[in-house]
Symmetry: C3
Subunit: 153 residues, 3 copies
Amino acid sequence: MELLSFENPVFVAYAIAAAIMVLKAVAMSWLTVVQMVRFKGGYRSPEDIRKTPINPEPHAGQLAPDERVERIRRIQLNDLENLPFFFMAGLLYVMTGPSLLTAQLLFYGYVVSRLLHFVAYFTAQIHDVRAIFWTIGSLIIVYMAVASLFHAL
Amino acid sequence: MELLSFENPVFVAYAIAAAIMVLKAVAMSWLTVVQMVRFKGGYRSPEDIRKTPINPEPHAGQLAPDERVERIRRIQLNDLENLPFFFMAGLLYVMTGPSLLTAQLLFYGYVVSRLLHFVAYFTAQIHDVRAIFWTIGSLIIVYMAVASLFHAL
Amino acid sequence: MELLSFENPVFVAYAIAAAIMVLKAVAMSWLTVVQMVRFKGGYRSPEDIRKTPINPEPHAGQLAPDERVERIRRIQLNDLENLPFFFMAGLLYVMTGPSLLTAQLLFYGYVVSRLLHFVAYFTAQIHDVRAIFWTIGSLIIVYMAVASLFHAL
């Protein structure tokens, strides 16, 4: 059986987790747009305060940071610091031919940790709460990268 | 036929699109360097205003944000928020064995949307113009991720 | 022999390089945490100055940028601007079936260039020093992307 194939249940688990994480990351972009339109602010480029159908009454204050938009940007930056490395470590890990149960725990555990991280960050829970969810995801990436490295060496 | 192979024309289309997007992203880094050297500013680290052959007459003002550099940084950040997810969603989509024509439309459509997004952003078109190109690319990623997810489930 | 398999020594070299780069990137997140806890500052979210076991004596100044934390964030951003494109270009390059020696030079050369970039940035060497290491890595990505593109066309 080919490892990188939908016939391999470990790859199926990886594909499900990766696809959900792609959609989660893209949703952050859309949520940024929603917040900018909703609060009519948090824009970043000088041309964004030119009059358009979406922004009919522009003013200079719209270029100032708006915490309700900045919060989503920080959540998104956190995704950028994590998801590409999950994708890479996960792909290598699939290639090592792990047991299905372990792989599912790692892949789906990662997805759950990131979704909970989002909820904790979006609802402004104390730092320690979102740190716990972030740490779980980060350790899963480290585990898969180290396991792949040992498999390769 | 193996799906992940240059013998698969769908993979060839993916490889062409992904390679162009890699070069586009790397070009943003080089364009940032070009703008920093050209306008002698927009540096970010305290040590960047130490005297060197590239910066023979440094001064503290070089650490202030320079819109001509910041614009490229915003374009690059937009790439970081999009391209890694195109790479991942596209790879999964190749594995689902789609029709060649659909895959080419999605992959090359994505490339065109991102190049037009760059032109619109670089020339400071109104927000709605670059938003249209960004939206096309974003929807292509969403479509491929959802199609891969349904294929996996 | 399958190209994407641990039986292919070119893939093994890619896997080793990619796994090390994943760990390097994740280490930047942990280093940011270390610096924030060590210097009790450089936080970014309003809720981060609520009293918790990790931050027992919070104050508003902890939300101001702290250069010792910002430096790590800049290094990490540089990783985000480079590593995902190394992963993608490297994967395509493996698929082109290159010679083992060339591939090892490119993959391991990239790893070394990024580790030296980190040392130069972390110890605040002049801009030109870290620019040299960054340039080596960037050119390796460009070479692999172009080689893959020509192979595909």
